[in-house]
């Protein structure tokens, strides 16, 4: 939606309702020539795979055997599949707890980085740097940090008298561990918030200050509403990303099976991968993919609808 608004998109009638002149015909040909890479890519890597996976989702499909049409059986089996519900629960945990926590934390960080502090640019680099560490490297690093015996986190917690949990092997603490890992790499979100904060008109803040508003009141009544479109953008992209959460969970189990410990890190995409590529139940995995698509679509539309009341667009 943000993209649509920014692109200045306007509705025009489909081509067949217009009378094409010679110039339009020529432009159409030239335009289509320029679009060729995308058109072919769209047909081969988007449209065909969508159609194919839609068909697979209604069949039992093993790559070495012919396709067998089974109607809605895959979808019916999903409802009865305990692991499917477990993976959905794990994913929702990350969406409902992880995303808002990360948004709040990155907003606080952006506010701090926007203050006039000595060495501001150095702080900005420090806050941003972890986000460019490759996912696999940062996940392995956090496996090492969260190591219950020799890890640095539990050692530091020990100094202030807290007995740290067994992060990776305790099913209660594995997901919070992953959220911590996500928060370490939230530099991108902080940068987006920071650019939003810099766009808040100084005149508004000064006017509020003259009216006697405290620092907290200015933040809550001026800054927060002014960056609400950015919050919405970060929220939607965050939710979509969390529903597709895969690489971190795949690496985080270490040398154990997928979902270790006790299926607590068996996220939706991990279970989908397991079905499709380890058990070669390609039809079942395709059905899962379509359910995921519909869930993401519904969540996005819901967020857009609900946010209409909470989002403020200046101008």
């Amino acid at each position: 939606m943000e993209e649509l608004r920014m692109s200045g998109w306007k509705w025009t009638w489909p081509p067949k309702f217009q009378k094409w002149g010679a110039r339009e015909r020529r432009n159409f040909k030239v335009g289509m020539f320029f679009l060729l890479p995308w058109t072919i890519g769209f047909l081969v890597f988007t449209l065909y795979p969508m159609a194919a996976s839609f068909v697979y989702s209604f069949s039992i499909y093993h790559p070495k055997a012919p396709l067998e049409w089974v109607g809605i059986q895959n979808y019916a089996n999903l409802i009865k599949d305990k692991l499917f519900w477990q993976s959905l629960y794990n994913t929702l945990y990350m969406v409902v707890i992880g995303v808002p926590l990360t948004l709040l934390a990155s907003f606080i960080c952006a506010v701090l980085l926007n203050l006039k502090v000595r060495g501001q640019s150095i702080y900005r680099v420090i806050y941003f740097l972890p986000s460019i560490v490759p996912t696999v490297a940062s996940t392995i690093l956090w496996l090492w940090i969260l190591n219950p015996q020799t890890g640095i986190l539990n050692t530091l917690l020990g100094y202030i008298g807290i007995q740290g949990p067994n992060w990776m092997s305790n099913p209660t603490w594995s997901k919070p561990g992953l959220i911590l890992l996500g928060m370490w790499g939230m530099g991108g979100t902080i940068v987006i918030y920071l650019s939003g904060l810099q766009d808040v008109p100084v005149t508004l803040l000064e006017a509020a200050e003259l009216d006697g508003a405290s620092w907290w009141q200015r933040l809550w009544h001026v800054t927060v509403p002014m960056v609400s479109p950015i919050t919405l953008f970060n929220l939607i992209t965050g939710v979509i990303a969390q529903f597709q959460y895969f690489a971190q969970a795949y690496v985080f189990r270490g040398s154990h099976g997928l979902g270790f410990p006790l299926n607590s890190t068996l996220f939706y995409s991990v279970y989908l991968y397991q079905n499709g590529f380890l058990w070669l139940k390609m039809g079942y995995a395709s059905a899962m993919a379509w359910v995921l698509f519909i869930i993401i679509l519904i969540c996005t539309i819901l967020l857009l609808k609900v946010s209409e009341r909470f989002t403020y667009y200046a101008g």
Binding site: T12, V30, I40, F45, P49, Y123, Y127, G188, T189, G254
Partner: protein, 372 residues
Amino acid sequence: MTTYQFPSPTKTDEETRRRLRARKIRDFFQSLFSHTAINFIGLFFLIPFLWMVLTAFKSSQDVFHTPPRWLPYDNVRVEVNGEQLPLYNVQTEEGAKQLVAVKIVEGVGTFVDPANPSQQMDYEIQQGATKIAEPVMHVYFNWRNFPDAMERGSRPGIGASFWVYFKNSLIIAFFAIVGTLISNTPVAYAFARIKFPGRDVLFVIILATMMLPYQVTMIPIYLFFNDLLGWGNSFLPLIIPTFFANAYDVFLLRQFFRTIPEEMCDAARVDGASEWQIFTRIILPLSVPVLATVTVFTFLWAWNDFTGPLLFLTSPKNFTMALGLQDFQSQRSMIWNQLMAASVVFTVPIVIAFFFAQKTFIQGIKLTGSKE
């Protein structure tokens, strides 16, 4: 003509001074609070990063030292008869002495005096609760971990080391950058500058593909490359799709192309330039900053990608850094110093790119709203 008259000050000097003092105190505490917060949270970002680098320099025993120490420590070694042997503080009958351990078997160490290497003495390392012999340690950055890790790799002996993984990652990233630049620029140009019927409908479709989760198309694309074309276990399935444009880069480039003055293109058109000439001679030379952004982000994406290589690359000699590192971790999860050394090597190219092109990074994130 009326002139505005400021109200005459009603407060006494004493009151004004008191207010100023209160304000100063409040400002001081606010600044104290914000400095504390920014430093404290900064530690959360900084410490893991430092911990990665410091662990990469530790010796294998030092990694498991409890409680963990910040700096890497190693035995002080002395050359005796052409061998580097660890130095110990030993409580001998004649008092404390610094001796060199030749071997340690079942708690009994064989020591020699470095000044007189021919005479061997046996001491128990520990008697009850008292340590008889303690190794002499010093801060030592064991850089050997880096070549060791790089030569080792996850599956030694079959031509798969981290050097190979590093090379594979570079090859894939290079072709991904070439493909992305070649394929996205003309598409973005058509959307930005050529007016043709149906363009806006197509642009909505291209934006809509951003909403489609990768999982929906993943299985047919895998079967297409792997079974139909037989390109499994090669770089082609990772490289070829980048030659067919993607929504993010098209959008990013289009937004930039639209900022280039239309009059320049129109003037060229009047002079008889074709769209292709306008695109290659006017638009592209003016778009170097955004092309840099696309290059950096494609490199980042290709370097970081885990799912693609996981699906398509099966034999270790074709692994990328991401896949190789994961494989190494799942095979030998306890060699933390070498794991961290490999992670550092994996991260360094990106950090270097960041310090060379800081503005490009930040600009790219603001424009695309983070690619992941």
